[in-house]
Amino acid sequence: MHDVFDFFTSYSYLFYLVLLNVILALSVYITLMAGQLSLASIGFMAIGAYSSALLAMNVGLPYPLSMICAALISGTIAVLVCMPVLRLKGVYLAITTVGFGELVRFIALNSDYLGGAMGLSGIPPATETWHLAVFLLILIYGFRTLQRSRHGRALVAIGRDEVAAKTMGIPTTQYKVAAFTAGAMMASVAGSFAAHHTAYLSPGEFTFTHAVLVLIFVVFGGLRNYWGPVLGAIVLTLLPEVFRFLHEWRMIIYGISVLLVVVFIPDGLLEFGRFFRHNRNKAGRSTSGPTASEAKLG
């Protein structure tokens, strides 16, 4: 028992990191379900992190409340950003979201109020790892519900063929905005967790590279259903740790592993297991999305 406890405390940070990355991966996944490639999650993560930190520090809001407010702020920004941006297709949308993320980082870097390049410290530490676990369970429940309801089906339909979806009466714009905003709020909560966990924030944590790594979690794990991003985030967060003894070779192995999976198992790691079992689809209860090699981005 003592050993188990030791195991958890020494690996507690890793466990926390895994949970954080799973939440981020899911935030990207929900927009991908609707066929939108959004790399804005990191930007919203930053917004959530800084907002919650500042609300707690300067306004004195208690921890869960500051997070909720930060999520609402992110949600509002998401809705505002959405309108002009969702007209864009595929790569154009992706690049715009990258631009958004960079702008957020840029603002954080150049604003003294936000701590500038030196970052923001003194954030009241309040997050326990189990908070993330609880949030994640709620998210998973939400995704499970989504996949078994007409809303999940609608999202996937929009992602595959938006025109056909429209002629079935699906309000495509509303769904795309909802998916984008939901993703933004999830990322925001993740950011708030991070802020209150490490008690320090710097713009260098929210770069394009990070955004890209989260996307890799999702595609690596598979897009067919929400367990793909979960698996991808878990495996790819643990991989560098497992290979820590390889020092500089770690990231080379990381890159090669991702490359191999994407090229040889393009459906994602999750599907690799399915390959050996017949895919039982219980009475159409859970909708499958496209795989990475099928995913069109507008």
């Binding site: 864009l88 702008l103 996307l215 890159g255 490359l259 099928e294």
Partner: protein, 294 residues
């Protein structure tokens, strides 16, 4: 002073243009964003630095070898990250991620070989250091060579696409891949050459940037990837002249920002332009939705 800044902007724009030309070529024809382009650029800088500073080669030979090396990287890139996915279907997401993965590998290998710090050239190895006073500005010989090189390469690329057999193949491929194949275009060979050329261009840009700024590091690629996106969106995806124009305009926007606002805001300039362009006219200045214009 202003004229000096104009000169600086022109030479800065030259880098961006060379880098973006290859990026826009691949996107315009194959509809995929090559996320490893920045890593190849970085290798252009690192490799030529190595040849010059460690092996003692002159700039000329180093440049030639860098072109070959980066072209080879392009070949590798195409064969490992893109070709296998093409066979599986036309999704856009998978090639994006596979090129990202390869980019990680390329950067990590550079880190391993050259360390994580910025490397510098020894002053006497830097070519074209002479500066000319042209009255309204000081232009270094390097800047002149760079601008001439960028112009020359862009025009050559234009010539390649509009007048040669490879160029015709590229245009046919962009119009309609299936029909192109039926008409006898060797699609695989054409795509491979596109990657080789684009990567070689990126390598040249990298080599020049390394000597111009007297620094190179494994992380240069990220920085220029983002600029590259802004340039190709501004110029129009698939348009080579657009890459040149876009590169110059972004450089001007950046210099303008430094002069009139603050040098802190320099990197934001590209993004403001990018977002503005995407909202107002996503097809860019010289692009139409899908066309490799020569």
């Amino acid at each position: 002073m202003l004229s000096q800044q104009i000169v600086n902007a022109l030479s800065q724009g030259a880098f961006y243009a060379m880098f973006a030309a290859g990026l826009t070529l691949i996107f315009g024809v194959l509809d995929i964003l090559n996320m490893a382009h920045g890593a190849v650029f970085m290798w252009g800088a690192m490799f030529s630095w190595y040849l010059m500073s460690v092996l003692g080669l002159g700039f000329g030979p180093a440049l030639v070898l860098t072109v070959i090396f980066c072209g080879a990287l392009g070949l590798l890139l195409e064969h490992t990250a893109f070709r296998p996915l093409r066979k599986r279907g036309g999704g856009h997401l998978a090639p994006l991620v596979s090129s990202l993965a390869l980019s990680i590998v390329l950067v990590s290998v550079a880190e391993k070989l050259f360390g994580t710090r910025v490397v510098r050239y020894q002053t006497d190895t830097i070519p074209f250091q002479k500066s000319l006073d042209v009255g309204f500005a000081q232009i270094s010989l390097l800047q002149i060579v760079l601008m001439v090189m960028a112009l020359f390469l862009t025009v050559s690329l234009w010539y390649l696409i509009s007048k040669t057999k490879l160029g015709r193949s590229i245009r046919a491929l962009q119009e309609n891949p299936k029909v192109a194949r039926l008409m006898g275009v060797n699609v695989e060979w054409t795509i491979t050459w596109m990657f080789i050329i684009a990567s070689a261009l990126a390598g040249v840009a990298g080599a020049f940037l390394g000597v111009a700024y007297n620094s190179a590091s494994p992380y240069m690629g990220h920085w220029i990837d983002l600029k590259g996106f802004a340039v190709i969106i501004l110029g129009g995806m698939g348009s080579i002249p657009g890459a040149l124009l876009g590169g110059l305009l972004i450089a001007f926007a950046e210099i303008g920002t430094i002069v009139y606002l603050s040098s802190d805001y320099r990197d934001a300039a590209a993004f403001v332009v990018l977002i503005g362009m995407l909202l107002l006219r996503p097809s860019g200045l010289l692009g139409s939705s899908k066309e490799v214009r020569a």
